[in-house]
Symmetry: C2
Amino acid sequence: MSEKKKVTPLSELGEFGLIDRLTRDFILRNKSSLKGVGDDAALLDYRGKEMVVTTDLLVEGIHFNLVYTPLKHLGYKAVTVNLSDVYAMNATPRQVLVSVAVSGKFSLEAMEELYGGIRLACETYGVDLVGGDTTSSVTGLTLSVVAVGEAEKGKTVYRNTARLNDLICVSGNLGASYMGLQLLERERRLFEESSSGVQPDIAGHEYILSRQLKPEARRDIIESFRELGIVPHAMIDISDGLSSDLLHICRQSSQGCRIFQDRIPIDQETARAAREMNIEPFIAALNGGEDYELLFTLPLGMHDRVKAMKDVSMIGHITGAGTGYKFVTDQGAEMELQAQGWNALD
Amino acid sequence: MSEKKKVTPLSELGEFGLIDRLTRDFILRNKSSLKGVGDDAALLDYRGKEMVVTTDLLVEGIHFNLVYTPLKHLGYKAVTVNLSDVYAMNATPRQVLVSVAVSGKFSLEAMEELYGGIRLACETYGVDLVGGDTTSSVTGLTLSVVAVGEAEKGKTVYRNTARLNDLICVSGNLGASYMGLQLLERERRLFEESSSGVQPDIAGHEYILSRQLKPEARRDIIESFRELGIVPHAMIDISDGLSSDLLHICRQSSQGCRIFQDRIPIDQETARAAREMNIEPFIAALNGGEDYELLFTLPLGMHDRVKAMKDVSMIGHITGAGTGYKFVTDQGAEMELQAQGWNALD
């Protein structure tokens, strides 16, 4: 009784037909987007503002597995992870450009799903799609997203400017996305090993799955900074894991750090899933990655203002150069932080 | 007696080590490049100027074949084809971001070759590398390049603004890159079919090979426009072939066109290679693609100023809507132009 889903081979449209089709429902919202899709380049006007540009490449089989990643979520995530980089500069994203390489196995309907997710992310974050490239690939799907944003002079925040005695803060909670991925991988293996097609058991894990499949970028934190008059000393978004990204800040700033296990924010669902899979929750939080939370440092004097912010935890402080990168456990033991985060080239 | 070439697996460096290594010899040349590689995003200052952004994805097996494409040339080309898009807006490129996905079969030395070409292009065109992403791929090499450039308000040139009776002009000559590709493909097949390893026969074809392997972007044309006070009505860079790209201008401008075979600029070496391979030279020029020449239209009154420009041919004129897209042969026959250019999704 089910309606047969229409499948249109991409070869029916050609490159330009496909671009037109995929981008026709996108509208330009920002004053700075003078000209979008349809010419050699997009035209933007950032007069009076500085601008930030960032780009990320997402490769099938490396960054995502289409067995359990809905294309709409993938499109959404491809945009939000780039917006997260713009927010991590204390800037506001305004435009994205999306390039897609697809093999013949994808249909127009699949591409429309993908662009549906891209459009939803553009709407949610108020950014404009203003360009990109669509091409074929020998195998699989590759996405490249560029995000452009505006910054106020003197308000951009870098990684290499943490100062001695700064508070180290993190938004939201950590390790959820990693546990979501572990769960998806476990269910994929069970499904593949079973001859009868075991149904995935994901009830009660909705939160960690959404953190993995459809992560959000922390626009709210940047907006709170503005309202509260806060400009952090240093900031990075957590894509490779708390350890790895905190080490980026410390090393680039020539500082040490000291963070505390009991301060690391971990959601109950993350902790439960971790224990189910025999993983220490704090290990998932330190090394998991793909959290897209903001990690930032600011002067001790800002303590009260940070306390007024929703969903921010103070997890430690910046120590001097040569003092090492310390993690203090609940038992008071000191461990050295290591960058065991996800390494795309391993 | 030959020195053994050092080969370093990428896994020895890790992602961040690789980025550091590949980008350490790049210096920032432009005032507008406030902050480059090494943070969440690049920081640019385009105050007082409008800016253009463009991006292209280059996929191994689709856009290039490493059997006959030296990595240094590939890096150079990946940058110049994006700069060409910026020039096609009548703008000046200032920054690029380069993302690379590589499989384990590539070594550090191979990546350094690639980045050597990227660096050479940056030096030649005075642009700064300010960011990008480096990741692994399941198979092969994918390059994504973003180019950012500055434009003067009111001086940017689009595709959809050609006017009735405009002269149609093109820089340089056409079809060379396509014939270079045909030659490389022919030699590859001969090599693969022979058991004894036939040596490639490319003597006398240096020009068409360089047009395919190491194309240049027409900065000189944009500079001449400025010197001569010319702002074209419409412009595009020829990447898909003269036919296809002229049709973009005509359709987006709601105009027709009429161009003449005897006006199409074709280099002698291109014509000779075409005849050797039983291809009509004008067909290579119309449909070849990857020329990265500028195709532009301007008012008849600019005729004398265009004549003063080096390396520009007037090939026809813009006719009214509904008059069709005409190609007039040497014999005076009229043919309809068709977009038979390279279509990445076929």
